[in-house]
């Protein structure tokens, strides 16, 4: 049998396809939410927070924080539930965890936002960074608890 059409090669191609498709959909959703929700709904909703907390709240990446926390919850819930007994190379795990949730959530975007913030409000950047980590840990904990 030709190597290019062997079962192993087919399996690898399917894995690559699953990661790419899942990652592309997740990235597209994040980019859409960041460019639309960030500008309109979230900033409007956070108007009261800004008034009470000061102008530094304008620099907080609210939408990204929410996307990351929701992504952690969804990925943990899947890994602890339906994908519990699936290995790393399982197609559904590659599509959803490595691909979709991997593309939806982002560490680099968080650091870029914190980098912009630290030039203006260094303490606010530290607080926001710690809040992001805390929200991720809390989301994972809630997801684990919800599956029990």
């Amino acid at each position: 049998m030709n190597k290019a059409t062997s079962p192993v090669a087919t399996e690898q191609l399917r894995a690559i396809g699953a990661v790419f498709v899942g990652g592309a959909i997740g990235t597209c959703l994040r980019a859409f939410l960041l460019s639309h929700v960030a500008v309109h709904s979230v900033q409007t909703a956070c108007q009261s927070v800004r008034c009470s907390a000061g102008p530094w709240a304008d620099f907080v990446p609210w939408t990204l924080l929410a996307i990351n926390a929701i992504g952690v919850y969804g990925a943990t819930r899947l890994l602890a539930g339906p994908l519990r007994d699936r290995g790393f190379f399982d197609q559904w795990r590659l599509l959803s965890i490595t691909g979709f949730f991997g593309g939806l959530t982002s560490y680099s975007s968080l650091f870029m936002a914190l980098d912009v913030m630290r030039h203006v409000y260094p303490l606010g950047a530290i607080v926001t960074g710690l809040t992001a980590l805390l929200s991720g840990a809390t989301a994972a904990w809630l997801a684990i608890r919800s599956v029990r």
Binding site: F20, G22, T98, S106, S108, S109, A137, A139
Partner: protein
């Protein structure tokens, strides 16, 4: 058009992360997500390179494609918490804590290195 390019770049970024995870697992078979930790650090390094080093030579559209698209797909926040949570659930609490704490630290180092190299 820009959203399409960001989408494709995100898919490619995810593939690179998958490649790093495969390489780590091939080199050192493990259930621990050290490949993800490395991919996050590399992604933050490249993001800083683009922001500080290539900002003037790239159009805003291409900068978005590289940062939001490629680096966004290369790095992941969800796996950085979800996989350690599963490890902690199966009694590997220390490993989980080490990964959760190590990831932001290596990301800071990666981002600072990228900025330093650019300057």
């Amino acid at each position: 058009m820009n959203l399409l390019l960001v989408t494709i770049a995100g898919g490619v970024g995810c593939l690179v992360r998958y490649g790093i995870e495969m390489a780590v697992r091939h080199w050192h078979p493990t259930r621990r997500p050290w490949g993800t930790v490395g991919a996050n650090a590399v992604g933050c390094f490249i993001a800083a390179l683009v922001v500080y080093g290539l900002a003037s030579s790239l159009s805003p559209e291409w900068r978005t494609v590289l940062t939001s698209g490629f680096c966004g797909g290369l790095t992941t926040f969800s796996s950085a918490f979800a996989v350690p949570a599963i490890l902690a659930k199966s009694t590997h609490v220390k490993y989980a804590l080490v990964i959760v704490i190590t990831t932001p630290l290596v990301c800071v180092v990666g981002f600072a290195l990228g900025a330093a190299v650019s300057n």
